[in-house]
């Protein structure tokens, strides 16, 4: 009951005209940076941070948060339209979203991603308001061994990502694990594969790789196919998801929300991992897993819901403990602190107006984003009619600017171009980019967790098997790897029967 009262109080703060305005500005800015490839919420928030010094902290927080979850809405747009992930969490959306666009179903894909984001966002905020403290305890029970087990489970997702040759997918994954080792070793401080370049000390960023291997590579191969056969002449079939689409997506959205929310609470790349994981889950539960990657709507709905729910989940450690679970949260904390407020467990009781105003602003923000995004869909779809020779220099330009803004570093542009050319070449040989990107995300976290665990246990591997959570996660991972053997056997029988 108390919570409901507090939420009502929060609405009274969030509905103040000035806060509504900040919420709207944040949502618009977020959608915009989400749509522009590479230009992520971090860069936008860093740029707008000085502006927020002049406005009251509640407004500042509402606006900055709006940018963050707004970007999750916008991020899918370029993934679907031109196969360029607007930000890292939208990589998976490329797989089926872009295929849908090629079939003239860009509208429903964009629509389901907006609705999916809305549903996930709203459920996420509800969970945030009511069960945050309980969930944070669950997150705290994850130490290094549990993380390691979780990453092992994450790697099994690989087997669901590949829709061509499994060997090739695994080869790309191994290469991704290798790219993940570049940079200063977080445990010992030793430089690995940096060739003495400070630019490589923090490793190769996933956004640079994703934009190169999806975006630049896509541009290069489309150029090669010339203007004649292009996506953009396919007839546009419907602008919004139909009943059939909804039937297929609703389960995916709910499952994606659950996965995203929980993984979002854990520090690290929650949103990215959750989008991959939810995709794998959908493929697993689907009756037609073989169609994934060819433009099925569940393949868009699930990861989009997951990354939005993860965006909400990530607020939990921040508001309950004052611990940022990702860079964006760190920025929000920084904004609060520069205003002279101490984030942490006491924020809720010391500044209830700020705390509840901020939480409830997210309900409002989600509605705003839905209203903002739906009318944009016909516009985005029209955008596909722009002739490619005119379109591609602009896409390229935005990619170049976007990737530069990540670290204000020209080297990142070279990296993206390198991965673009590399992505183009491996695409010719029918290798897929997604397994490599997943491995780049998981590899460093997995390595770190493994080494931390073994330091704890002084080199004893049994640490992974005596802790209940890690043993369960490892068990599920093994099970998932073994499961595909069974249906395969039955299909073989069927084929054998048919041949008879």
């Amino acid at each position: 009951m108390e919570t409901i009262q507090q939420i009502l109080y929060g609405f009274s703060v969030a509905l103040e005209p000035i806060n509504l305005l900040f919420c709207f500005l944040g949502a618009v800015a977020g959608t915009l940076v989400g749509v522009l490839p590479g230009l992520g919420p971090t860069a936008a928030m860093a740029m707008l941070l000085p502006v927020t010094f002049g406005i009251p902290p509640t407004g500042a927080l509402i606006m900055l948060a709006g940018i963050y979850y707004g970007a999750q809405y916008g991020g899918s747009t370029t993934s679907i339209l031109v196969n360029i992930p607007g930000e890292a969490a939208s990589v998976v959306t490329c797989l089926d979203g872009y295929q849908m666009a090629r079939q003239g179903r860009a509208g429903p894909a964009l629509g389901i991603s907006a609705f999916g984001s809305f549903i996930a966002g709203t459920i996420g905020v509800l969970a945030l308001s009511f069960v945050a403290p309980a969930l944070v305890d669950a997150a705290l029970s994850f130490g290094p061994p549990e993380y390691f087990a979780l990453m092992c489970l994450g790697l099994t997702v690989l087997t669901f990502l590949a829709h061509g040759s499994m060997i090739k997918a695994l080869m790309m994954a191994v290469l991704g694990l290798f790219f993940g080792t570049v940079g200063i070793d977080p445990i010992t401080g030793v430089q690995r594969f940096t060739f003495g370049k400070t630019d490589l000390m923090e490793g190769i960023g996933m956004v640079q790789i994703a934009m190169g291997m999806f975006g630049i590579a896509e541009i290069l191969s489309t150029i090669e196919q010339t203007i004649k056969i292009s996506v953009f002449e396919t007839k546009v079939k419907g602008l919004f998801p139909n009943l059939e689409d909804w039937k297929r997506s609703i389960g995916a959205i709910l499952r994606g929300t659950g996965i995203g929310f929980f993984l979002g609470i854990l520090p690290g790349g929650g949103a990215v991992i959750s989008s991959f994981a939810s995709y794998a889950v959908e493929k697993r539960v689907s009756k037609h897993p073989e169609k994934f990657g060819t433009g099925v709507i569940e393949g868009v709905a699930a990861p989009e819901a997951a990354n939005n729910a993860a965006a909400q989940g990530a607020f939990i450690p921040m508001i309950t403990l004052g611990i940022p679970s990702n860079v964006v949260m760190a920025l929000l904390l920084g904004a609060l602190m520069i205003h002279g407020l101490t984030p942490g467990p006491l924020l809720m009781t010391q500044h209830p107006d700020l705390f509840w105003g901020f939480i409830t602003s997210m309900y409002i923000g989600n509605v705003m984003l839905l209203i903002l995004n739906l009318p944009l869909i016909p516009m985005w779809v029209k955008f596909l009619k722009v002739p490619y020779p005119i379109l591609f220099p602009f896409i390229l330009l935005f990619c170049l600017i976007g990737v530069y803004t990540i670290n204000n570093n020209v080297f990142d542009i070279y990296l993206m171009i390198f991965f673009g050319i590399f992505g183009y070449l491996v695409r010719k040989l029918h290798f897929e980019a997604a397994p490599l990107i997943l491995a780049v995300v998981l590899g460093p976290m997995m390595e770190k967790a493994l080494r931390q665990s073994l330091t704890m246990s002084k080199g004893d591997f049994s640490i992974f098997f005596v802790r209940p959570i890690s043993v369960v996660l490892l068990g599920v991972a093994i099970l998932l790897l073994l499961l595909p053997m069974i249906p395969r056997a039955s299909t073989r029988e069927k084929i054998a029967k048919l041949e008879e």
Binding site: T42, M45, A46, L49, P50, F53, A139, S141, F142, G143, P144, I184, P186, I187, T188, G189, Q191, G196, T198, M201, E202, I219, I223, E224, Q225, P267, L321, G322, I323, S325, V327, V328, M329, A330, L331, L332, G334, L336, M337, I338, H339, G340, L341, T342, P343, G344, P345, L346, L396, L397, N407, N408, N409, I413, L425, K428, H430, Q452, T455, M456
Partner: protein, 342 residues
């Protein structure tokens, strides 16, 4: 079989156009890419400061150091008379190197810290040295390193008792550190030496991952600056057994220092503003004075406080002395552990 597949792949590769198709279009794409990399930057000299000043922070937005860079620029620019624009150039070594290599005309300044001094000894390929590469303008803030434990946990005991336990069973207490050879890791090293104990050292990439592990009971103790534990301490989630300042922090009068408990561990995490070596005296003093005025505002002090540090301006000479003291401490640890640039 394999051979056949490779041949098939190659055939597909050729059929789909390979690399040779449409070279002119690929050329256009490449030209666009190269063109963007070559944007010229113009600059002219006039009465200082004639234009905005660039403030390099070698850390990601939202990190502790970035927060101080933004705080300093916010309060400094009023008195400098021109905007001070924070430019994030992570990782730290890149930011420090960029500052050292910038034109010493007063239009590029930056934030430096303990790591600037330490990386000279620890990171292979680093050429910047706190005395040779920079001219320090002023100190922004300092913050104590504390040793903290989970409240109510098995190690929530007085420091002496913790040390006794550690000596009784050496190499069993797990210490979480938010970054290898950061200020907190140096504090740990000095503490272990002074107290004659040895912990199991578990490195995390940052406090954001280390703290949940302490709260979840996966590690037993942690070292870190007040910015990391202040709010958790106030909320009763952690207990701080000792801090590395010379005197007790007036904000936390109940937390004893290491020194008063018999361990001679004095170490602070400090941020300074610096310009590249060769920046004229007049500019250094102008900026130092501007920041002094800005930092004496109550708003600055409050914000520094909520960031967990003590905002304390110190002029160029005193700041350099502080750096010398830190350099000595760092060299002591480097020597003891036989650390080499890696």
């Amino acid at each position: 079989m394999k051979q056949k597949r490779i041949e098939q792949d190659l055939k597909n590769f050729r059929r789909e156009g390979g690399l040779s198709m449409r070279p002119q279009m690929a050329l256009v794409a490449l030209l666009v890419m190269v063109g963007v990399c070559l944007v010229p930057i113009g600059a002219e000299a006039a009465e200082y400061p004639a234009r905005e000043i660039e403030f390099i922070a070698g850390y990601a937005p939202g990190s502790n150091t970035d927060n101080f860079a933004r705080l300093a620029s916010k309060y400094g620019e009023k008195y400098v008379g021109k905007p001070i624009v924070v430019l994030n150039k992570p990782p730290a070594a890149r930011g420090f190197a960029a500052l050292a290599g910038a034109k010493p005309d007063g239009y590029t300044i930056g934030i430096i810290s303990n790591s600037t001094i330490g990386q000279y000894y620890l990171l292979k390929g680093v050429t910047f040295h706190y005395r040779r590469s920079y001219r320090v303008i002023c100190q922004i803030d300092y913050s104590a390193e504390g040793l903290y434990v989970r409240k109510g946990g098995p190690f929530d005991v007085p420091l002496k008792e913790l040390v006794r336990k550690a000596k009784e069973k050496p190499d069993t207490i797990k210490v979480g550190i938010g970054g290898a050879w950061t200020a907190q890791d140096f504090t740990r090293a000095i503490f272990e030496e002074e107290a004659g104990v040895k912990f199991i050292r578990i490195i995390y990439p940052g406090a954001a991952e280390a703290i949940p592990n302490l709260l979840g009971g996966h590690v037993d103790v942690e070292f870190g600056p007040a910015s990391e534990w202040a709010s958790l301490y106030k909320a009763g989630k952690v207990n701080v057994l000792g801090v590395s300042t010379e005197q007790r922090d007036p904000r936390f009068p109940n937390i004893p220092t290491f020194r008063e408990q018999g361990f001679d561990v004095v170490m602070s995490a400090i941020h300074w503003i610096a310009a590249p070596a060769g920046t004229p005296d007049a500019i250094i003093h102008f900026l130092a004075e501007a920041f002094r005025k800005g930092f004496s505002e109550q708003g600055f002090k409050d914000a520094a406080d909520s960031l967990g540090a003590t905002g304390a301006w110190e002029g160029p000479e005193e700041s350099l002395k502080g750096m010398d003291r830190l350099d000595e401490l760092i060299r002591r640890v480097v020597k003891k552990y036989n650390l080499e640039p890696q």
